[in-house]
């Protein structure tokens, strides 16, 4: 097993499948009365969150607690970071406190890589800038596999703001490792062709959502990340929504079995219509539940052994 999970590219097909299989066992165990498992007793997991997050932080916290690890939550607001402490000094503090794993969310791409040079414990990337979010990709793959039964040969359309999306990058890496065919769809200004080519040779690109939908098993809608946009990437929100938003009419173009995913948080009415988000095809709530099982699997596999 690997020591850190900094990128979905750290995982080969066998390791990724082991994580998904372990997550399935974890999910089976979460249905019982006593949800707590003793596997990580006495281990300390630090949640180091420099950026706002609801579901990822809570999900990691729930996962670590269900495995009986001690959890220390750290958010940049209200800590010495607001007094100007650097990431390195914070890391050395955590090191001195004996953290076995550090789960880090940071607005700077590559922060988990830097951190892993400074601490002895495992580093888990919970989203770094516009770079990667590997546990999100794992829970997406888990959701696809449990809904559709397989990943190999699955046609997945990832739609929207690929440029700013760490979820898209991690998904491209993981899904191509596991044999799915990814097509990135969005306005040309939001699809960085050089990055896509560097990530995977099999990934396709399309600028026309309507032509991709009839041949897709999975549609993953990405959030339009206005907070990361300094320039204007499309003329207006209305035009974006008309061309790349998933509404009920577009959803009808999907094959009968296809599912609709969104990593959250959603801009309802922008990239996804409320009726679509709440339809039976949507796996959005399921993705959150699966997130806990997948993160349990990751923490167990990183920390459970020698």
């Amino acid at each position: 097993m690997i020591k850190h999970l900094r990128s979905a590219g750290d995982l080969d097909a066998a390791t990724a499948t082991l994580i998904l299989d372990t997550a399935a066992e974890m999910a089976a165990l979460s249905g019982r009365e006593v949800k707590k498992l003793p596997a990580l007793r006495g281990r300390t997991v630090v949640n180091l969150f420099y950026e706002d997050s609801t579901r990822t932080r809570i999900s990691f916290e729930a996962a670590a607690k269900r495995l009986s690890a001690d959890v220390i939550n750290f958010s940049a607001k209200g800590s010495s970071v607001s007094k100007g402490e650097s990431l390195k000094d914070t890391a050395l503090t955590l090191q001195a406190m004996g953290a076995d794993a550090v789960v880090i969310r940071h607005s700077a791409s590559g922060a988990p890589h830097r951190l892993s040079n400074w601490v002895d414990g495992s580093v888990v990337n919970a989203g770094d800038g516009t770079h990667e979010h590997p546990t999100q990709a794992l829970l997406d793959a888990y959701t696809m596999r449990s809904r559709l039964g397989r990943l190999d040969g699955l046609k997945v359309a990832v739609v929207g703001d690929v440029l700013h999306s760490r979820v898209a990058r991690s998904n491209v890496l993981l899904l191509s490792t596991l044999g799915a065919e990814v097509t990135l769809v969005g306005p040309p200004t939001l699809i960085p062709l050089d990055v896509v080519a560097a990530l995977s040779k099999t990934t396709k690109v399309s600028y026309d959502l309507d032509s991709v939908l009839p041949d897709s098993d999975v549609v993953m809608m990405l959030r339009v990340q206005t907070e990361r946009m300094q320039d204007s990437f499309f003329p207006s929100a209305r035009e974006y929504s008309r061309r790349y938003g998933l509404d009920v009419t577009r959803m009808r173009k999907l094959p009968e079995h296809a599912i609709v995913m969104h990593p959250g948080p959603m801009n309802r009415g922008m990239e996804i219509a409320p009726e679509v988000a709440d339809s039976p095809r949507s796996t959005i709530v399921e993705q959150v539940a699966n997130g806990v099982s997948v993160r349990m699997a990751v923490l167990y596999l990183l920390l459970g052994g020698k």
């Binding site: 082991l18 498992l37 596997a39 167990y300 596999l301 052994g305 020698k306």
Partner: protein
């Protein structure tokens, strides 16, 4: 525990129909000791305890026509040696539909050695419900207990040295029914 080398000499202790007869005997003993196996659930400990539990249930059904619920109980997350080895993959835990509360649970495993797996199984069981009693059935007891644990049903007692190891293979998993003693001086 030191494992004997791959090319170490080995001796077959049980094979094919001998092993089937041993399973039959355990099935009879369970019926005898539990007055017809009423209110009883068999839980196999992965990997090889699971097919053994299914075989015992099938034999008990053949002898007396009683259907005993069978499940599996993975103990990986409860092991006390997790941190001493590389991370282990998880096995399946599947309880029968009726659960285990108030029932007699018979744990089934292939080899009883240090007793640590059984301790882990007892801990795992505690988180799943409250059986009225817990018993243990093993195909082979090789001795060298490190905990105050004993089996209620033993297929075969094999006196071993610590340098030896006992390997059970079953048709369902390995393609052949065999109990082998590997290593030692001879």
């Amino acid at each position: 525990m030191a494992q004997p080398r791959a090319d170490a000499p080995s001796k077959i202790i049980l094979a094919g129909s001998d092993l089937h007869r041993v399973v039959d005997r355990i099935a009879h003993q369970i019926l005898e000791k539990t007055s017809g196996a009423t209110g009883t659930v068999l839980l196999g400990i992965p990997t090889r305890g699971v097919p053994l539990a299914h075989r015992l249930a099938a034999r008990i059904h053949a002898f007396e026509g009683v259907e005993i619920p069978v499940g599996s109980l993975d103990i990986t997350l409860y092991r006390d040696d997790l941190r001493l080895n590389a991370t282990r993959a998880l096995g399946k835990t599947e309880l029968p539909a009726g659960g285990i509360d108030g029932l007699r649970v018979i744990l089934v495993d292939d080899v009883l050695f240090s007793g640590r797996s059984v301790r882990a199984a007892l801990d795992a069981l505690k988180d799943l419900g409250r059986p009225s009693s817990v018993q243990l059935a093993v195909l082979v007891d090789r001795g060298h207990r490190q905990l105050p644990i004993r089996a209620d049903y033993v297929g075969k007692n094999i006196p071993t040295a610590l340098s030896e190891s006992v390997k059970v293979t079953l048709t369902e998993i390995d393609g052949a029914d065999e109990v082998k003693l590997i290593g030692g001086l001879k």
